[in-house]
């Protein structure tokens, strides 16, 4: 079934308009819908990082586990340059701030780009040695680098720059429009890249390195490119996260952060941008919001269900991850992207699918 191009454009416009209306509505009723606002922001920020990870893992086939480290670099860069000069003394209350940095305060957007560039620069340096490694070695090496970055940030030697163990606070926030808008721009740029001639080259490397090389694709250059770009956006994601959290410290960017992002990518589907975005929103919302009730004591008809207590939410979540990994390896979207045809096709096919499912059951019963 083919939809007309105009129909699709109209659908997209309507969806975008609906989304903006939703945002405006939520923002103007912030006190009532605070949770939705928070989850939406965090979801979009994680979506940026998830897509950046997908760019490496899903599209270029490089299994990298360094995302948290690059986020840390971005977050700290953004924070250091945007904390208002007047509150710096109280933030660096133990050892004071490096006099060179103390006077520099950058506008938000500039600081955000600086955050991305910082992460990208670091990625460029470590990329050349690390990207020669094959699959699992690469994973461990990037994981290692991410831990090294974290150790550096927390070290007492860096006290006057990163405030070492004490973390940074008083980071200026931005409105939800800015955060979500920036996230969408970042994701859009990555989507454009993936659909460009370079994106095709990345996919070629994922499919078959030797054949890609025989097609004249310089492996190291393209891997490095993917790695640097991915880190750039991870850095921006980190900056946005700092903006969202208002205070950060090195323990925010532990290995668990990388695993959380990986979980989002896997559930969304390796190699699908819309999958990652959808899954980032879905995972964040359920983890932080809808599934919170798993952690609270549940009483049904006067009987206390003993399973429901603190920590149960995360157990459910890990089981969910295993189910996806083992039985729905393609995740929500597999490698395909969202399209209006796909959606209408899916909706139209529901009745027949339900009946076929029903028939199958019937058949089994007989």
């Amino acid at each position: 079934m083919n939809m007309k191009k105009t129909t699709k454009t109209i659908c997209t416009l309507i969806a975008a308009a609906a989304f903006i209306v939703l945002l405006v509505f939520l923002e103007s009723n912030k006190n009532k819908y605070g949770m939705a606002v928070t989850v939406l922001q965090k979801g979009f920020i994680l979506a940026v990082v998830a897509v950046s990870m997908n760019l490496l893992n899903g599209f270029t086939g490089l299994f990298s586990l360094g995302q948290a480290g690059f986020m840390a670099l971005g977050a700290y860069t953004y924070a250091i340059f945007t904390i208002p000069v007047e509150s710096r003394a109280s933030v660096y209350y133990i050892s004071g701030m490096n006099p060179v940095l103390a006077g520099i305060e950058l506008p938000m957007l500039v600081a955000l780009v600086a955050a991305g560039l910082m992460a990208a620069a670091f990625a460029a340096v470590i990329g050349f040695p690390v990207l020669r490694l094959k699959s699992d070695y690469l994973a461990i090496a990037t994981l290692g680098f991410s831990e090294i970055i974290r150790a550096l940030i927390a070290s007492p030697q860096m006290d006057t720059i990163t405030n070492g163990s004490y973390g940074l606070k008083s980071i200026p926030a931005a409105s939800i429009y800015v955060v979500v808008g920036l996230c969408i721009i970042c994701i859009a740029i990555m989507a454009l890249l993936i659909n460009s001639s370079f994106g095709r080259a990345f996919k070629a490397i994922r499919e078959d390195e030797i054949a890609a090389e025989a097609m004249g694709i310089n492996l190291l250059k393209h891997k490095e490119l993917a790695f640097v770009i991915s880190s750039f956006f991870a850095g921006i994601g980190g900056g946005l996260l700092a903006m969202f959290m208002r205070s950060i410290d090195s323990s925010t960017f532990k290995i668990a952060m990388t695993y959380d992002i990986l979980l989002i990518v896997v559930i969304g589907g390796m190699g699908s941008i819309t999958g990652s975005v959808l899954s980032a929103l879905l995972v964040t919302a359920s983890k932080e919001w809808w599934l919170r009730f798993f952690d609270e004591p549940l009483t049904i008809a006067g009987v206390n269900i003993p399973l429901f207590r603190n920590g149960f939410r995360m157990v459910i979540f890990s089981i969910l991850l295993m189910v996806v990994v083992l039985f729905y390896r393609r995740g929500i979207m597999g490698t395909s992207e969202f399209s209006w045809e796909g959606l209408t096709g899916l909706i139209k096919s529901i009745p027949s699918r339900v009946t076929s499912l029903f028939h199958k059951k019937e058949g089994a019963a007989r």
Binding site: L192, S197, R200
Partner: protein
């Protein structure tokens, strides 16, 4: 005689103590179809991989279009172990990577088909155009190269039409039947705009009818694109029919070269393939 497009000189490839290719030299002239044959394990694929830059040779040099693209001499541990000839003749280490060699105008196919399996037929060919693209990552991302991209897509479509794959352009590569996958692999190689096409056992696993089709196909594209072809092949029918000249390798050593007629009547070649007759 037309000019030499590919020249391999004294190629020796030694893995540990095993000499896989020993002092192999050959030339391919512009417009020729040259085949490299030999019994199983004779070192054909190794020689082929040296020429395409996948392996660095232990000793020897390769020239393309009169430019030295690969050269090496025994170094390090290999210095003591080296069992080949012409030691000391080469003193430079030049190692162009496969992608650089492709850029110079040498395209290749693989013995066990290596397509971009989960991409469409169209994308498989379009990827080959990336190499010649002038766009950088920014202009490509922000679509500043729309003209070039359009031209590439147009050329890809034309190429697919020529090789007869246009009707399956939106299929996933791995879903094609075996014969078509071979055609696609050759089409993809052609899209890199080569002067020299290297085919690694293109007819492997094909039945006689498919082989005939392939023979005709190679001849056709060779004429149409003005190519020079160098191939490894087992199917003697195909080799004898389309080759201008043939090199024969046995136990890593070149044992004969010449036109198909000469090779067919060469005693050493017959021995290599059939074995040396016992005293009788």
């Amino acid at each position: 005689m037309s000019k030499t497009i590919l020249k391999a000189e004294d190629i020796t490839m030694q893995f540990g103590g095993v000499v896989a290719v020993n002092n192999f030299s050959m030339e391919v002239h512009e417009g020729e179809i040259v085949a490299l044959i030999g019994p199983n394990g004779a070192g054909k694929t190794t020689a082929f991989n040296v020429i395409t830059g996948v392996y660095a040779p232990t000793n020897g040099a390769v020239y393309f279009d009169e430019q030295m693209i690969i050269s090496n001499y025994p170094q390090g541990k290999m210095k003591k172990m080296y069992a080949g000839e012409n030691e000391g003749k080469y003193t430079k280490k030049i190692e162009k990577t496969p992608d650089q060699i492709t850029k110079l105008g040498v395209a290749r196919t693989f013995q066990n088909i290596r397509l971009f399996k989960s991409l469409t037929v169209f994308d498989n060919v379009l990827i080959a155009k990336h190499m010649r693209s002038k766009a950088n990552v920014f202009s490509a991302t922000f679509r500043l190269n729309a003209k070039e991209e359009k031209k590439n897509r147009e050329e890809t479509r034309k190429l697919l039409e020529i090789v007869g794959l246009l009707d399956v352009q939106n299929e996933i590569a791995s879903s094609l039947p075996y014969g078509k996958q071979r055609h696609l692999e050759i089409a993809r190689a052609l899209a890199t705009e080569p002067k020299l096409l290297l085919l690694d056992e293109p007819a492997a696993g094909m039945n006689p009818q498919e082989t005939d089709e392939l023979t005709a196909f190679i001849k056709r594209v060779k004429e149409q694109f003005g190519l020079t072809v160098f191939m490894i092949e087992h199917h003697m029918d195909l080799v004898m029919e389309i080759s201008d000249r043939i090199y024969v390798l046995d136990f890593g050593k070149p044992i004969a070269s010449g036109t198909p007629d000469e090779i067919q009547n060469n005693k050493r070649v017959i021995e290599a393939y059939l074995g040396v007759p016992e005293d009788e």
